[in-house]
């Protein structure tokens, strides 16, 4: 068994099914291609796209700070592209820190499942992270330039215990974070 420790991110395009119904398959393909192009352009060298999941992506990062910085960059890139092209790149992103088990090129495990559920809680253009990711981040990086807003103990489908989730954005003013 090959166990990794790192950050897992799930991205998901909100409204992809409706977009495809209204605009057709060709535009839907453009939307997916655009998402993947922008994601790959943001990824650091030691991160990777693990797999595509319909209209979403599973990403893996070696470091928590790189994971968060990259996903925030992605949201900036999605916003810029949406403004320039009129494509509704309404992407939500969930991030979690933990252990993952390799299965070929894929990653599986409880912590992967948590990241998937976190993405469900996020809204379009949001990055939502778990307390585990935030704790790892605070142990290795300066979070003063982040706006960290707790969403609360969130009880998610399939997970026995509530998980503290935080909405994170780049702050205009230095932030105070209380993780106790």
């Amino acid at each position: 068994m090959n166990v990794l420790t790192g950050a897992v991110a799930f991205t998901d395009i909100c409204g992809f099914t409706e977009f495809t119904a209204v605009r057709g398959d060709a535009d839907a393909l453009t939307l997916l291609t655009t998402q993947e192009r922008l994601v790959r352009a943001c990824l650091p060298e030691d991160a990777r796209v693990v797999k595509e999941l319909g209209d979403g992506l599973l990403l893996w990062f070696a470091e928590a700070d790189a994971a968060l910085a990259t996903t925030l960059d992605m949201q900036d890139a999605f916003r810029a592209e949406a403004t320039a092209t009129e494509l509704p790149l309404w992407v939500r992103i969930g991030l979690h820190w933990g252990q993952q088990t390799r299965r070929g090129d894929d990653l599986i495990g409880h912590d992967v499942n948590i990241a998937s559920r976190v993405a469900d809680v996020a809204g379009p253009a949001e990055v939502v992270i778990t307390d585990a990711l935030l704790a790892q981040l605070m142990s290795t990086a300066d979070v003063a330039d982040l706006e960290v807003d707790e969403l609360g103990p969130v009880v998610m489908r399939g997970l026995p215990d509530p998980v503290r989730l935080f909405r994170v954005a780049r702050a205009e003013e230095p932030a105070q974070v209380n993780l106790s």
């Binding site: 909100c14 409204g15 409706e18 977009f19 119904a21 209204v22 605009r23 009129e86 509704p88 309404w90 469900d120 809680v121 809204g123 379009p124 807003d149 707790e150 969403l151 609360g152 103990p153 969130v154 009880v155 998610m156 489908r157 026995p160 509530p162 909405r167 209380n178 106790s180």
Partner: protein, 232 residues
Amino acid sequence: MPHDAIPASGRPEVRIATGSGSITVVGEARDDVAVDDRAHVEHRPDGSIEVVLKKSGSVTVRCPEGADVVVGTRSGSLQLKGRLGAVKATTMSGKIDVEDAASADVRAMSGSITVESCVGACRVKTKSGSAHVGSVGAAEITIGSGSVGVDHVEGSVLVRAISGSVTVDAEGQGPIEVETMSGGITITLPEGCRPEVRAKSLSGRPRVECPPGHDCVVKVKTLSGGITVRPR
């Protein structure tokens, strides 16, 4: 009669999480946090007060007016009554009703959301279910399938709706941005307001009944649905 209570002065933070069951939180004139016999209350190291549920099922929590509330349930409705401070509420399945909050971030996977009054920023997200906001300072609403109604907003508005109509009555004191994939958009502004409207619809010509100007920016876009920007 409350079963358990902790004295709480000022503006306490009350935290509640449960797997299943409805939760009612009441902000009222009192100086403690009190619960019924399904739960007990305890202090956390960070100074907040945690409601620990002993039994599944519905629970009612009574707290001082203006208390901050962080509440989550997997399945069950959330009712937040009376005047509260910052409200953070999530449910995977069930509706959320907030009567009066200083600010609100409320999220449901499946269920309608109502926020009657929120003097500050009001963030609402539901995947399936309608969202109705009464009087708020600023609104940020994301909805999957269902309608969005904003009765009165003072400041900025950001609405993204995948499938469903959006109606917003705004004072125009902040930027207004509304996008839908499938659903009509109606923005109502004060009489005499002269907005700068940037509207785009793939189905029909947007109707802008307000005189053009620069009082506020209104950006509206829909892939399938009509657009109307009109005076009150």
